[in-house]
Amino acid sequence: MSELAFKVSGLSKSYGSKVVLDDLSFSVNINDFSVIWGKPGNGKSVLVRSIMGLERIDAGEVIVRGEDVTNKNAGSRNIGYIPQSFALFPHYSVRENIEYPLNLIKASDADKEKAVNRVAELLRIEDLLHKKPTELSGGQKQRIAIARGLVITTDVYLLDDPLVGLDFKLRERLIDDLRRTQEELKVAFIYVTSDPLEALSLAKTVLVLSKGKIVQQGSLTDVYDNPQTVQSMSALGFPEPNFVPGKISNGTFTSDIFSAQVNAPDGISDAIAGIRPEGIVIGENAKAITLEATVALVENLGSENVIYLKVKDRMLVTVISRTDEENLKIVEEAKIKISILPHAIQLFRADSEVKIGEGKHHE
């Protein structure tokens, strides 16, 4: 598709007997927005620190623009970096903070002026340049940290969960800013997050990090429609998918709340069925698996309601539109019928969490 910007191969890192990165490999192209998604504790921050050269790796290599930088120190890797915590220097003004990377490469005053104005305009922070970081709100600080990361001209930028802890509205806006910025600069953005909604709204390419390995890499739709592991399925979208444990025999998946015809190998006593919220619909459906459920909680998200359903002792979640008046009659404590769409069922092994099959369409 396009030029290779960045590649790691065979990256390994352990702390004592704890393996954090396990022979991890991936590559990223120029002009791509890649999101590395992983739950906390799966090695995200160690990966970021290894890529940046802040952490010594046990094995493997890091290649930026075809150049092996594995043994180079952090400063000479030429990767734009936006850290998770803002780490704005409190003794510098906002302008001085943004200029900081340019000062280190001894850029001329004219170049600095130009570069700072460019990123200030990009992130709409022109009015803040003369202030001190202590005078700024959390979102403003984050924008300054992003500006400082973008101010150097390079083609690979690494963003380490930069929106964590910011309020929803602000995140939406910054997500917008970041997408626009990537499209304007046509460079490689590597964005690390644990938020499925952020991953969904930012990514062109998704990389799923699980237990120190990249378990799936693909386009947004590819990973969304064909998750290869339980983690991949969790990586995108909101609310989180439903996961129901059960077993498979004679082409049937059986759990405590439903059974379904599936295309999957027999004899797996520990399987997991993953169903995205949109795979569960309200009402009876001849082509689906119909269950009785009690509405436990209705969460109003504006245009949609998130419905938490109790089936026996298990909780399932689905999302319904609020524009349909019928849907508004679904209130807490109501007893309703729901249907699980068979083709929405993804099956995984419980032990390795790897995909083994999916639900069969009802004839």
Partner: protein, 284 residues
């Protein structure tokens, strides 16, 4: 200072009893200093009056006389030179040590920190003879270099302790951000971390300057006629002209507390934060 620590949380309404109490206690602490300053400003003939003469026309003649007497001015200047140089030097060295302890965490950091401070457990009286012999051996007696070296060493342990606490409070994210953009370690230390330690630096400075400024024993033993400071000067001139001149003593006393008073007053706003070891410090 004392009343700053005891200041009750400000509430509207009448002055509370605890506030009055705090002021009273503070005044009691201040009384000896007020007495010394008062005696220095009193005309000589009133200084021993009993009951004390409270109302008088203040005069600077005692103080000008004390300054122009013998070596007073030189003692004073020498004190300023060696104490401020030694403490500044100690803080520089301590910053390097504290940064290393905080960031590299060498094996046994806690024990090493303890060892460092343990050098200050030994009573001065037990050290004075060995130091005298040592200084004799290396010919550092009665020299500024000798005194500065001694007081630098004397000031390092507490400075390292204070500064390490403050550096621990500055996130390593700042160091890493510097490294990622290509900064050297020294750049990170002096340009990114050091400026964030202002209250700690002030606390370490004030704390040690009080010690060094008031240090008598080693100045007396290791120093000499060329390097005596104001504490020795005060001691040796108490009985000038064969009798005790209280106006003179009070005048030197007044000059004596002045540099410290000015230093502490100037840095007061950092000092409160500094002496609580950064616990009331905000982070960006």
């Amino acid at each position: 200072m004392a009343d700053d620590f005891m200041k009750p949380r400000r509430k509207s309404g009448p002055i509370k009893l605890s506030t009055v109490g705090a002021w009273l206690v503070s005044l009691i602490f201040f009384l000896p200093i007020a007495w010394i300053i008062g005696s220095a400003l009193k005309p000589k003939q009133y200084v021993l009056n009993f009951p004390p003469k409270w109302i008088f026309v203040p005069t600077l003649s005692n103080i000008t006389e004390a300054i122009s007497y013998g070596n007073t001015a030189k003692y004073f200047l020498d004190s300023v030179i060696y104490s401020f140089t030694a403490v500044a030097l100690a803080i520089l060295i301590s910053f390097l040590a504290a940064y290393s302890f905080s960031r590299f965490k060498p094996a046994g950091t806690d024990f090493l920190m303890f060892l460092l401070l343990s050098s200050r457990f030994v009573p001065a009286a037990a050290l004075v003879i060995p130091f005298f012999q040592l200084y004799n051996l290396v010919h550092l007696q009665d020299s500024f270099l000798g005194l500065i070296l001694f007081y630098t060493m004397f000031s390092i342990p507490f400075s390292v302790w204070i500064l390490k606490g403050f550096i621990d409070g500055v996130s390593t994210k700042f160091d890493e951000t510097g490294f990622v953009y290509g900064a050297s370690r020294l750049h990170v230390m002096f340009k990114l971390i050091l400026p964030q330690l202002r209250p700690g630096l002030v606390a370490a400075f004030v704390f040690n300057i009080i010690f060094v400024w008031n240090e008598f024993l080693f100045n007396f033993q290791l120093g000499g006629i060329h390097s005596y400071g104001i504490p020795v000067g005060l001691f040796t001139s108490i009985t000038k002209d064969g009798h005790l001149d209280w106006s003179f003593v009070a005048s030197i006393g007044t000059i004596y507390v002045l540099p410290l008073a000015i230093t502490i007053f100037a840095f007061q706003k950092y000092l409160l934060v500094g002496l609580t070891f950064g616990t009331v410090r905000g982070e960006v």
